[in-house]
Symmetry: C2
Subunit: 435 residues, 2 copies
Amino acid sequence: MDALNLPDPKNKARVVVIGGGFAGLNFVNKLDTDNYQVVLLDRHNYHTFAPLLYQVATAGLEAPDICGPLRKTFRSKQDFHFRMLVVHGIDPAAGHVSTEAGTIRYDHLVLATGTRANFFGNDSIEHHAFPLKTVPDARRLRNHIFQTLERADLTDDPAERERLMTFIIVGGGPSGVEVAGALSELRKHVLSKDYPDTPIDRLRFVLVEGGDQLLSAFSDKSSDDARRNLEDMGIELHFGQLITGYDGRTATFKDGSTIASGTVIWGAGVTGEVVVGLRDDSVRRGQYVVDDRLRVAGYENVYALGDVAYLTSDAWPKGHPGVAQVAIQMGKRLAENLNRAAAGKQPEAFEYFDKGNLAIIGRNRAVADLPKNIHFNGIPAWFVWAFVHIFYLIGFRNRVFTFLSWTGNYITYNRAVRLVLEPSLEEELRSEKVS
Amino acid sequence: MDALNLPDPKNKARVVVIGGGFAGLNFVNKLDTDNYQVVLLDRHNYHTFAPLLYQVATAGLEAPDICGPLRKTFRSKQDFHFRMLVVHGIDPAAGHVSTEAGTIRYDHLVLATGTRANFFGNDSIEHHAFPLKTVPDARRLRNHIFQTLERADLTDDPAERERLMTFIIVGGGPSGVEVAGALSELRKHVLSKDYPDTPIDRLRFVLVEGGDQLLSAFSDKSSDDARRNLEDMGIELHFGQLITGYDGRTATFKDGSTIASGTVIWGAGVTGEVVVGLRDDSVRRGQYVVDDRLRVAGYENVYALGDVAYLTSDAWPKGHPGVAQVAIQMGKRLAENLNRAAAGKQPEAFEYFDKGNLAIIGRNRAVADLPKNIHFNGIPAWFVWAFVHIFYLIGFRNRVFTFLSWTGNYITYNRAVRLVLEPSLEEELRSEKVS
């Protein structure tokens, strides 16, 4: 018996995986546990289908629709051990990972920790703006949106109502574009009917982008389509503008202008969730530098996958894009290489197969760039997007059911999810349980 | 324009309703707003289907399955105004309700505030035990249950594991019996598969009841059935026992015995959620004393409904039972009486039509007492129970859909709801947003 209540791997090598995102999940799924014991560590007990977090934040879906319980996902996998905990650091010389619950030994270590929001050192924004990286983030934002609307409906002060009814979205990447589109749909289909005493037509959604176009990783055609769609949907677009501060009441911009606002949604930057303990030169700007076998620079048995890995190639001289497909493909490649090694075969280099880019702007508005210069948009793009994701998704028992549930909820809004469900901080404190 | 952004009722009387539970919901639904303006106040923006809270706490259903957004429910009702806020008190002389957001005038005031958990002044239990009265309560308990199991799976200390794997349920009424049964089902169908490294067969569920039988409001036959069923399901039953303290680690009992436990679930007592401001003699042990027209003693235009109303009758000399049917029937009766008054007709006295009692112990174990001495149990009881509730339920757009969803989830456990989703208190504090 090792620490953390783990069984002895006996004659097998132990692979410790930190992070149950797309990379970690696909790695574990593909790894042959006849040859390896696999230990998956995560601070949450579920996998998050992160591309749909914006739907949870805007009351289109409920959290369990986009979460897969990790234990259930790998229920039938032999010699698989999940532990929910916070990792403190790595000791590569000793071959140990230290955690809040004790230290465990590894033979191979897989870092698949993903990213977190990056506020570039701006404390006021970090303290008051809402990031959208985790399920708790998404639920916190949703509760805030509906609480803010309830307060706008209560107040007899027109200036305060105007402030509460102004929402700022920072960043014109897929995350910002999708949130802005979903908020516009929410205004049109739900809020206009639910708040008869509030002038919902005066609800403002302001999207602020530092560059001169939306979706800069997409084709120019898709960028332009996205811009036209958001303008049609009544989103105010401010290009070449940077937010410099937000005190919870007023947002300040680089040009000195201000907007009174009750909500700033942060979709502007992420940085890798690096675990401490590896050599300094293995990390570059918040990512682990890996070779084409996904080994972290300087180590033979430490690997990094997905958003936290920095891998350059001829096609991607500045590193691969931070999308689910890269993480999925890296996870599978590394597992296959470890399986090959156990069979005495040589590893294969990672090669990324680019399946294209899609962003969802609204129910009948989406943009897609496929390889070979194919672009399309509208409802077909939404269905393709959902289908592609489901197809590559593991951890959901019934893909068809999930697809139908998403589609049904997406089209009908017939879910009771616009509920302010979290206890307030005050309630939480009052009733905190210690055990 | 009145306070709280409310429109002038003009020549109509304004009815203010405090509480969107079964009583308030059915009252609003039935009230004719051609003759009255209706203002519904609640601290939450949703109605809770409280009889299924235990399912949310035990990961059988997700919160939105048992919540109906109040604004959506009454979307098509004219001159209906919902405001989400906390009520501070009543000034009956002035005819005002004071709230966190201002004071509003009423012509008729309907108190439908329900109950809250009653810990009988025991601070240690109130601080450490988990009540199950609200959706936040249910989610907090669910998160705690799964966090506790994760910690039991991590520890290398057998005594600590045993403590974490001991759950105490206080109270042998419907709430305690249903939670205990659902926990046993969870152990059998889910936990035994999800935690291969933990001896799930040693998970202890201890139900403590002060009296000598379960379900004391039911027939003796149903009490005995419930007892036999819970014993079959491996629940330890302790009768004639009272919990006297719980410090978060050890529960102490009246006879001096102790049990080390990580979780105490409180299903033992409730008290009415009385709003301050009415005459002292209108309140009796946490309930408003009402006459058979549901008027609070001493007032002509203040009414109380449901669990917070104390009404005696020949059939119920100690007051009516605290069940949804009483609340529903009171809400309808009062609305009809106000509609009659507007038409110049005399009010009718409230009479309770007892539809019987049902409690759910497990998927194929339920007990039911119907009027005329009919008892039945098993799967039929579950379906009747669900059907009866849905039939009397308003606020869910599609009763058939809800019924199918409940039934499907109940039978298959095929929902991803065993997720620890709340941010921890620490995370919540770190990321608290002020605006």
